[in-house]
């Protein structure tokens, strides 16, 4: 199946082209962008990112660990300090809070790796359609389509201000 790559200067036309392509039933799309553009956020996949679940689970795990660790350790060797209860919740809130952030942060990093599919591919390999141009200032929109649709996709990309359109190996 051929892949057609359009090269753009700005994110707006890429979003427009991708939306039109999806409307016409071309769903096998990929965008390579040099930066995070809000316009392109939901163009390929409009579902919310799964990273939020990782952060939430990490944070919850942290707060549970923070309180349970401090409370359990206080009763494992009960020591009266300053006339306070063995397990004194207000000071343990500091530990609970810090572990919430710590676990949440580490889980967010893991979420980025898992949800974002990183590390990607074999060491040093990149997609055929990828080019260092896309880590400069250009944006690539790659469409996989059947041979008979090549002309239609080509025309659509050019009509949405693609400055170059070429065929790349899938």
């Amino acid at each position: 199946m051929p892949s057609i790559r359009g090269v753009y200067d700005f994110p707006g036309p890429v979003a427009e082209a991708a939306t039109k392509l999806k409307d016409r039933g071309f769903n096998d799309l990929e965008i390579y962008a040099p930066s995070a553009f809000p316009e392109l956020d939901d163009v390929i996949d409009d579902k919310p990112s799964g990273v939020r679940r990782w952060t939430l689970i990490g944070g919850l795990l942290g707060v549970v660990c923070g309180y349970s660790m401090t409370i359990w350790m206080s009763f494992d060797w009960p020591t009266m300090i300053g006339g306070k209860p063995f397990a004194s919740i207000p000071p343990y809130t500091v530990i609970g809070f810090e572990l919430t952030i710590l676990f949440g942060g580490i889980a967010t990093l893991l979420g980025l790796l898992v949800v974002g599919g990183l590390p990607y591919g074999k060491f040093g390999e990149v997609d055929n359609a990828y080019s260092p141009r896309f880590s400069a200032e250009e944006i690539g929109l790659v469409v996989s389509c059947s041979e008979r649709d090549v002309a239609e996709v080509d025309a659509l990309l050019r009509a949405t201000a693609a400055k170059e359109v070429d065929l790349v190996e899938a």
Binding site: T79, L109, S135
Partner: protein, 456 residues
């Protein structure tokens, strides 16, 4: 008539030339590839020398004992704790710029956030060493961690020092995670243009990043969620540090205003340190296009604002001491200003309260040398602030019979100087291996600006 030269077969087979690279990539990666000048080597050499001197002094201190410090009864928290608090404070600007300004969508942060994040990590690493240096027998530092041991004892979670351990280690971890996540797309930019060993290193660090929509979406959400987590964290860390003091009953320490006043002071000193390092960096590497007057103006406004919060904190402390009618409190504060440590108090007041007032004027906020001088004064003032709080507090407690005088010794000052050397050394090395200005974030603004005809 001579026919035109025939195009060689090789020429026809040659792929078309690569399109020109982005000027932003060239400028910002250029910092890493810039010729290593004698000035750079001199600075790096000086920084390393001070680290070696501090390291040797530390080894000597371990051999001889903490007696080589200026500790004298009742003052057992000295220059090491002061320097620890100072560096933790410096570490605050990075997370503030990265997390809080990100949540506020303050796009101007894009040019300075990476450098500030790196400085956060370096400052926390510098600060963390002082805990080991301060406790003397640093090989027993792990006692502060709740680890299973034969005695069946656990740590005291009601102690602010234990909270500190959790706060600092969480802060260091999150700062490193924040820095690394931000760097991944920039490592890919560097990978696409590097050769040799650098290419291998950046390929490994970029984790196969190609800027696909899935990768960017996960990346922006991660940064958003981390910002949400780091914002309360940055406010909590210096609050917890302040509770090391405020939870005790030492005159001058036992105050509820300590947490907000410490956090403001940390941001105050953190921004000043960012300016201290960025002004020369901008000049040397010709980054005037990226770090503009607008950035300086905004940072100076932050310094002015936080400077006033700190000033309010000082005034409030004096007012509460007077209003409380507690004699040791009143004496402690009187002696701060007019006792044996009066110089440190007045240096603190001049540097932190008076010097930043020049930033009411725009010309001062955008003039690099003025910014540099004021930022340096604020750094000095903030070190003295901790000196005043810790030393005057401890040296003038309730019983006048146990009052003492503390003077830092040569050993303590050498280790203190070494901390600046360590921090500077890491920064100087970092600018040669890390994109110290966030390339992809600067590009986002530039591309949008171009798309809107320069009116974004």
């Amino acid at each position: 008539m001579t026919p035109p030269p025939a195009m060689s077969v090789a020429d026809t087979m040659r792929p078309p030339p690569e399109p020109p690279d982005s000027q932003i990539n060239k400028d910002l990666l250029g910092i890493m590839y810039h010729r290593i000048s004698p000035g750079y080597l001199l600075l790096l050499g000086a920084a390393m020398l001070s680290v070696v001197a501090a390291g040797a002094t530390w080894v000597y201190q371990i051999y001889i004992g903490l007696g080589i410090g200026g500790y004298t009864h009742p003052i057992f928290w000295g220059a090491y704790i002061i320097t620890f608090v100072f560096w933790v404070g410096i570490a605050h600007a990075g997370t503030l710029i990265s997390a809080i300004l990100y949540l506020f969508r303050a796009k101007w942060r894009n040019a300075i956030n990476r450098g500030a994040e790196a400085m956060t990590v370096f400052a926390v690493l510098t600060a963390a060493q002082f805990l080991g240096i301060h406790v003397g027998r640093m090989w027993k530092s792990y006692f502060i961690l709740p680890y299973p041991n034969q005695r069946g004892l656990w740590t005291n979670f009601k102690s602010p020092l234990e909270w500190d351990t959790f706060a600092i280690s969480t802060y260091a971890t999150i700062a490193i995670v924040f820095l690394f996540i931000g760097l991944i797309p920039d490592f890919a930019v560097a990978r696409d243009r590097a050769k040799g060993i650098r290419k291998l290193a950046y390929t490994a660090l970029a984790l196969g990043w190609q800027g696909t929509s899935r990768q960017w979406k996960s990346h922006t959400r991660s940064v958003l969620h981390l910002s949400g987590l780091a914002t309360p964290l940055v406010l909590s860390v210096h609050s917890v540090i302040s509770w090391d003091f405020a939870m005790s009953l030492v005159p001058g320490w036992h105050a509820t205003i300590f947490a907000p006043y410490f956090v403001a002071g940390a941001i105050f000193s953190g921004f000043s340190m960012v300016l201290t390092f960025f002004i020369p960096l901008r000049r040397i590497y010709g980054l005037e296009k990226y770090i503009t007057e607008y950035h300086f103006d905004n940072m100076a406004r932050f310094i002015l604002l936080t400077g006033w919060i700190v000033t309010y904190g000082y005034a409030s402390e004096y007012f509460v001491a007077w209003y409380s009618a507690v004699e040791p409190e009143q004496t402690s504060f009187w002696l701060r200003a007019f006792g044996p440590y009066w110089i440190s108090t007045w240096v603190m007041l001049f540097c932190n309260c008076i010097a930043p007032q020049i930033f009411w004027f725009r010309w001062a906020r955008v003039t690099p040398w003025i910014l540099f001088v004021v930022a340096t004064l604020v750094n000095i003032g903030m070190w003295f602030e901790r000196y005043v709080i810790i030393i005057t507090g401890l040296s003038r407690e309730y019983e006048s019979a146990v009052w003492g005088i503390y003077t830092p010794t040569f050993a303590e000052l050498t280790i203190f100087a070494g901390s600046f050397g360590f921090f500077s050394m890491l920064f100087l090395l970092a600018i040669k291996v890390l994109p110290i200005i966030a390339i992809t974030e600067v590009k986002e603004l530039a591309i949008h600006e171009k798309a809107h005809g320069g009116a974004h």
